[in-house]
Amino acid sequence: MEQLKRDYKIILSNYIHNQNESNLYTGQNFIKRLIQKNVSPEEVISIHKQALEEIIEDLPESTIHAYDFLIEVMVHFGLKLKEHQSLLMKQEELRIEMEVAARIQNTLLETTIPNPENLDIGMVSVPLRKMNGDYVHFMHDHKRYLSIAVTDVVGKGVPAALCMSMVKYGLDTLEYANSNPSYVLEALNQLIEKSVDDSMFVSMCYSRYDLETDIFTWSSAGHEPPLYYDSREKVYYDLESKELLLGILPEVKYSQHDIKLNENDFIILMTDGVTDFRKQENFDPRQYIKELALSCRHLNAQEMCENIYKKLQVLHNYELEDDFTIVIIKK
């Protein structure tokens, strides 16, 4: 400390005698040393005052009082600074904790995209923050059936992730690739309704694909409607259902619908993060996605997903506001 005081006095004295840029620069570098040594703001003022008293012999009484006053008020600045530093440390702890949690979630929710003959499947799922509130669950029994669940839990981050673990557990325990989608949603709804609070819910589109007959069977619980492109008629169909979200009422019945896929038909399953264009009111995001998918339908399903994701990122100025998940299945 004494050394610091002496150094400061020299730097200050130099500046008082010669007000050039180099002396100012030295001063700024010196303050970095003080910060490293954890010298508080009030101490800095005190060092300055002391140095000044030594450099200028007959410093007016009023100036000395003014410095004492400054020391007094800077005590609170010092306290705020320390509080801030300690909050930063806490933030770092939380960040590390979050990273561990995210790793656990990734392992827990890891999913492999099935690769059956005669059907092309692609997926992009990107969380907004560390933890993902979207989840895609594939199941393929390597025989006739393949199932895809696209899920979105209300909210984002940790609360959504906790709820998602339960959904995943539910899917794992009751699912066989050949289960009826409506049955899966009904069973999951009961499980979720029992376990979550009143403002929590889950949206899900559950589908089953019959690889022998090419029949796609789907059910939706309050989920963003999938898009079906019929390549023979060259038209899109919005797969709307208006059936209730999971976890709101205890007994809910769901219906299911069949679509026969022909060569070059494709289906886009997504979460609302894909269609959420909050800032552009007079814009039809679903229409945009339809056109986008059409323009790249010569690509394989994975490339189509990636292409759409990239285009939407640009459109959002790289500031997507929600977890983003898109799955494309292509005949």
Partner: protein, 129 residues
């Protein structure tokens, strides 16, 4: 233990009185201007806590000596609501205990004795370096 000053904290004016007496003691003991300001700030925060959260309370300022070290101790005694979780109240960002975490930073040691419904005694010490 040589000198001891007690200030009853009832109105906001008493906070200033406690600060004034504290600064005087700190000066006599030989603390420099910066530490005088810190000790006074600590006293101010403690007194303010009494004023805001307890109907009555007092601040005791003492000169202390241990081995060949000199210092000051400040004790705050109130019959307020008490503190349920001391550790929580000392955390940064806690609005109620915001003052107390500051006090802890301004002094060398801090002891808190509190019973919910009965009151709180806080004793802090700062030593001359």
């Amino acid at each position: 233990m040589t000198e001891k000053v007690t200030v009853e904290i009832v109105t906001e004016v008493d906070i200033v009185t406690a600060r004034k007496l504290g600064r005087k003691e700190a000066k006599i003991i030989g603390f420099n201007k910066v530490d005088q300001a810190r000790i006074t700030t600590a006293i101010g925060e403690l007194a303010k806590n009494i004023f805001q959260y307890a109907p009555v309370g007092k601040i005791i300022i003492e000169r202390i000596v241990k081995d060949d070290k000199k210092g000051v101790s400040i004790t705050s005694i109130d019959h307020g609501p008490g503190i349920l979780d001391v550790q929580k109240i000392l955390e940064d960002g806690d609005s109620y205990g915001g003052g107390l975490s500051s006090v802890k930073r301004l002094v060398d040691t801090m002891h808190i004795l509190s019973e919910v419904g009965k009151g709180t005694t806080i004793k802090v010490e700062k030593w001359l370096r």
